[in-house]
């Protein structure tokens, strides 16, 4: 089952051409070539605009405790895709994959979040691609 689940997630990852909803440009804030994958504990959730955020306590390579600031889509965009303010909770064990900030340390654009109980949450990114407006963009 896990293999099937993983395969499906891989398919989602390849679906591409997503209409991201955010208010700012991805490339001014995050590096599309600099990825991260961390495991840790959710220490705070901010269901706020223009982006929801959650914070993850983890240990860095030297063993020191650090806190990552993870950016999600806006609450309205997340809600339209099934999230609620209670989807991620303080204390949740999570694995987060995403893009690292261009300048700041310990800031990330969360692309996917997998919880310890197997839920996979599509965090989205900060890109501001726009929904199809029918004919022209």
């Amino acid at each position: 089952m896990r293999a099937k689940f993983g395969a499906l997630l891989a398919v989602f990852s390849l679906m591409g051409s997503g209409a991201a909803i955010a208010h700012h440009s991805f490339t001014t804030e995050y590096d599309g070539t600099k990825t991260f994958n961390i495991k840790g504990t959710v220490s705070k959730v901010e269901w706020t605009n223009p982006h929801a955020r959650f914070y993850v306590d983890t240990t860095d390579e030297s063993g020191k405790m650090v806190t990552w600031n993870m950016e999600l889509a806006s609450p309205s965009a997340l809600a339209r895709n099934g999230w609620t303010s209670r989807t991620l909770k303080v204390g949740d064990q999570v694995t987060v994959t995403g893009y690292a900030a261009k300048v700041a340390q310990l800031r990330g654009d969360a692309r996917s979040v997998v919880t310890a109980d197997g839920r996979s949450l599509f965090g989205g990114a900060s890109d501001d691609g726009r929904p199809d407006s029918g004919q022209q963009q």
Binding site: F12, G18, A19, S25, T27, Y30, P50, S133
Partner: protein, 269 residues
Amino acid sequence: MRQLLVAIAACAMVVPFAVQAQEGRGALGTIGALGQEVKKPPVRNEPAPRLPDGTVSFDGLWVGGGPVGDIAQGLPKGEKLPLKPEGVKLMEYRAQHESDDPHVWCMPMGIPRSTPYPFRWVQDITGGGVSAHMFQLHEGNIHSYRQIFMDGRKHPAELDPTWFGHSIGHWENKDTLVIDTVGFNDKFWFDRKGTPHSEQLHTIERWTRPRMDTMVNTVTIEDPVYYTKPFTVTFNARLQAPGDELMEYICQENDQYGQAGGHQNPFFK
């Protein structure tokens, strides 16, 4: 099995609009491919509804109707923006200062710029037909409204500059809403690329609803400071899925823009 069902449900949710993320692919695939995809609304080919007085109804939740990334995408094929050298120069500067776009600092988008978030028209306040005032209520940047005077008044002779200007509207044949707007400030950008305008901007929007799920906004833009002649762009808006509503979006609540990329708010430089 539960995980598989969750995955299938997630798959159904992420059926994306047929667009390309504007900023290409990252190491993990298409940037923005996950999480923020919007459910594709159903195709509705039937005629648009009408108000009691016969005027076409704009009722519904809409996304689009203006540029986000590049206003030139709304030009007729083969045409280019008639930019003066001053306009070219300003765009070149803005290309090097993308983070100065007021929109990313929670400022309004102005006109005719759109956002990726929905908006709704307030057209028929009394239930008897078009009201003396119309409004556009925007969820997105920044949870703002736009006022259009439909009572036949003219523009004041002198106006103080504002983000949405002074808008007067009228109907042509109960099918086309024509909105004439002046009195803009020069702060907002037409699009992510920084296509410019001055306080002398004059826009004439022509909004129609040729079928249930589509609105068409054809905008003529005049600005003698940055353009050699008027030009016209066309953008469609798409009716959103049934049951979707405007949601709260208070952009200033927790705007951390600039911290990840090391940018400073241009309004406080």
